[in-house]
């Protein structure tokens, strides 16, 4: 029984939040890594692209809600998601036309493109705040819980509860679908293969007749979809506030770099690594150990490696270690 209690406590406070957060980071990092691999620069505007997509989705959700449309137990935002993706795709394509294309033509160095993307970031930042405002927005509806902690305790008779929010399950399921679809696209379709060829060797790809503008177009479309999905899932599960999306940029980049920039598999692994390190290093193990160890050995103190204040430092320590000892990331990405 004690082993079960320990397991449930661990699941409730570490595994489920970690997997959810990891999935959100992974989808975000996939977008960053695709831009890096194919367009060859670090897109600092990615966090704000996520915010823009989420904002459009929120506005559409409110529209649907006011018309009385709902998806029953599922959040209405899922219905509004395609509109959010479409608007974001238009935004990033317009940005590419107006800004990035010029620098691509003149074959600007990656560092110049990075600075350009920071400029784009500030513009998007302002646009989002202008339209929806800087405050918190909640737009989750439908059933909030699949299992509440109280119900779980009643069913199982355990003293520990397990809460499973519908948004957490939704996040994980969506992440799996998105990742499978993306890998199928990159590995099995003609367009996907041409993207990978372009990423591996731009000149050789051009020689073999691949249309670069088409590759760029498709990349931006996929990035817009990934950014909007990641943003909406994060917003549904937590809450939407432009500033937190801007801050999300840091763990997302940490995930992409730790996994190996430009490597999609690495982005996913990096997302989970960062998410779990944030949760586990700052977790107080007192309760779990209290269940597992005999009473005489049960700890009195919190058995907490680091106070939660240092949560954000953890991902950067990992980032530093990886960059020092394996600069191309765990999965051999590119390095410029």
């Amino acid at each position: 029984m004690d082993v079960l209690n320990a397991l449930v406590a661990l699941l409730n406070y570490v595994l489920v939040p970690g997997i959810t957060y990891g999935s959100q980071l992974a989808i975000g990092a996939l977008g960053v890594t695709l831009v890096y691999g194919i367009l060859r620069f670090s897109n600092f505007a990615h966090g704000d692209t996520m915010a823009f997509g989420t904002m459009v989705t929120i506005l559409a959700t409110w529209g649907l809600q006011s018309m009385g449309v709902s998806l029953g137990p599922l959040p209405t935002a899922l219905l509004a998601l395609p509109l959010g993706i479409a608007a974001t795709a238009l935004l990033v394509l317009a940005t590419d036309r107006m800004v990035y294309r010029f620098y691509r033509r003149v074959r600007a160095k990656p560092v110049i493109l990075v600075i350009v993307s920071i400029g784009v970031m500030f513009v998007m930042n302002g646009v989002v705040r202008l339209i929806i405002g800087p405050e918190d927005q909640r737009f989750a509806d439908g059933a909030r819980f699949l299992i509440t902690a109280r119900e779980f305790k009643q069913w199982t008779g355990l003293s520990e509860g397990l809460a499973l929010r519908s948004t957490q399950v939704l996040t994980i399921v969506t992440a799996i679908i998105v990742v499978i679809a993306l890998f199928w696209f990159l590995n099995r379709t003609r367009t996907g293969k041409s993207m990978r060829a372009y990423s591996d060797n731009e000149d050789l790809a051009l020689l073999s007749g691949i249309n670069p503008e088409r590759v760029v177009l498709v990349t931006w479309l996929i990035v817009a979809a990934l950014a909007t999905v990641a943003g909406v899932l994060y917003g549904l599960d937590k809450s939407f506030r432009p500033f937190t999306y801007f801050q999300l940029l840091l763990p997302i980049f940490a995930s992409a770099i730790v996994g190996g920039l430009g490597n999609p598999l690495g982005a996913i692994a990096g997302g989970f690594l960062i998410a779990f390190s944030e949760v586990t290093v700052t977790y107080a193990w007192k309760k779990v150990l209290g269940y597992l160890l005999p009473d005489s050995m049960a700890p009195d103190n919190l058995v907490q490696l680091l106070s939660t204040d240092y949560k954000f430092a953890v991902s950067f320590v990992i980032l530093l270690i990886v960059l020092l000892f394996r600069p191309t990331g765990l999965f051999r990405g590119k390095s410029v």
Binding site: N12, Y13, P17, G161, R241, K286, K287, Q304, T308
Partner: protein
């Protein structure tokens, strides 16, 4: 150039002293508040409160045989200690004020006290500095405040929880001066009274996700979670995450967490939670509102404390029969506390008469002033509980 400067300075000096001599029946009181900066939306009503009391006294013509009281405003900026000190020094040395009504924020208040008030022997009554650190500041008996120290709120919190039979709690606080100060004072009061704090963890405001913080809090356990944060910031996020994970069912909220937003965010989910915020059921508050009569917002935070601070300064002067800070600083506690005839807002003329006749007064004012210890408001608090998703008053203490 040098000569011109010297001449200007000399003539200014002469002019000032001449001016001072000709206005011997005028008493200037400095109003040092953050008219620019983070609390600039609150300070106009605070200054208006203080100036209302000064006008009331001037109009009565009964202070020290008919002296007029003039307010002199200066900007404390709330955050810039150097600017606040410079402003206060200017008031003392060039305007010739006899007291300071201010400053407002705790940081600048201690700077003004240490660098301007104490060296110049100036009495200072702050309406709004709540930091516990000011209770032990070196003040030569010159510093008072009409707001309670957060140390007091920590004590009240500990009392409420222990009376409810809660012997162990987890504590999380917003990583700000307010949160940290309150958490520290609560922790020492609660532990001294035999309570157990299983964990004291800070949370950053403005984050979307607090599951890691809640995981640590839940692991430490406790009968209730004390959230010393802000309701429109991280405090609500922590409560939401704790409810979702089933970590805690009931909470205890200090003043930063209590507001309409709390009911709106959580409704009946936090039924049975408790809390406290500064508040009084004394009739003084209603009388103050009537006195203000819509000229400014009489319910704005700290405006009634400002009225009381200014009133106390002038009543102490009357009791001492002098506007010299060295003479009247010892009288502030006498006029503020029992015994004596109770004085409410709008009754300053009566108080001045009584003092002139040698009768003792007990200034109650708009906030039921009762100065304790080193000259700070004892503070009355409204104890609340959440029932049916609504904040309901249990009692005043």
């Amino acid at each position: 150039m040098k000569k011109l400067l010297l001449a200007t300075a000399a003539s200014a000096l002469v002019a000032t002293s001449a001016l001072a001599a000709s206005h011997s029946d005028e008493i200037k009181i400095g109003v040092v508040l953050g008219f620019t900066g983070p609390i600039e939306s609150l300070t106009p009503s605070m200054a208006a409160g203080a100036e209302l009391a000064m006008k009331e006294v001037s109009d009565s013509g009964k202070l020290l045989g008919g002296a007029k009281v003039t307010p002199v405003r200066a900007d404390s900026t709330c955050v810039d200690a150097a600017a606040a000190t410079a402003a206060a020094v200017r008031l003392i040395t060039s305007d010739g004020i006899k007291a300071i009504m201010g400053a407002d924020c705790s940081g600048v208040t201690s700077a003004v006290l240490a660098n301007a008030a104490v060296p110049n022997g100036m009495v200072m009554i702050s309406p709004s500095a709540t930091s516990p650190g000011l209770s032990t500041a070196e003040d030569n008996g010159l510093f008072f405040r009409t707001s309670p120290s957060d140390a007091r709120q920590g004590q009240i919190m500990a009392d409420i929880l222990l009376e409810e039979g809660i012997k162990s709690v987890a504590l999380t606080y917003s990583n700000t001066d307010y949160g940290k100060g309150l958490a520290d004072s609560f922790q020492s009061a609660y532990e001294a009274a035999g309570g157990k704090i299983t964990i004291s963890a800070a949370h950053e405001d403005g984050k979307a996700d607090y599951s890691a913080e809640v995981a640590a809090l839940a692991s430490a356990g406790g009968e209730r979670l004390v959230v010393a944060g802000y309701v429109d910031q991280g405090g609500s996020g922590v409560v939401r995450a704790a409810l979702d994970a089933g970590a805690f069912d009931t909470f205890h909220f200090p003043d930063g967490m209590i507001g309409a937003k709390l009911e709106e965010n959580f409704g009946t989910e936090i039924d049975g939670s408790t809390g406290q915020l500064p508040g009084t059921d004394s009739e003084g508050a209603a009388m103050y509102t009537a006195l203000v009569d819509g000229k400014f917002d009489s319910t704005s935070p700290f405006t009634s404390e400002s009225y009381d601070a200014a009133a106390l300064i002038m009543l102490a002067m009357q009791a001492a029969g002098s506007s010299d800070p060295a003479d009247y600083k010892g009288k502030v506690l006498d006029v503020a506390n029992a015994p004596g005839e109770k004085i409410f807002p709008g009754e300053l003329a009566k108080a001045l008469e009584l003092l002139a006749a040698g009768t003792d007064i007990d200034y109650v004012g708009a906030t039921a002033v009762e100065l304790i210890g080193p000259g700070e408001s004892a503070g009355s608090y409204r104890q609340i509980t959440l029932t049916g998703g609504k904040i309901t008053t249990v009692k005043y203490r």
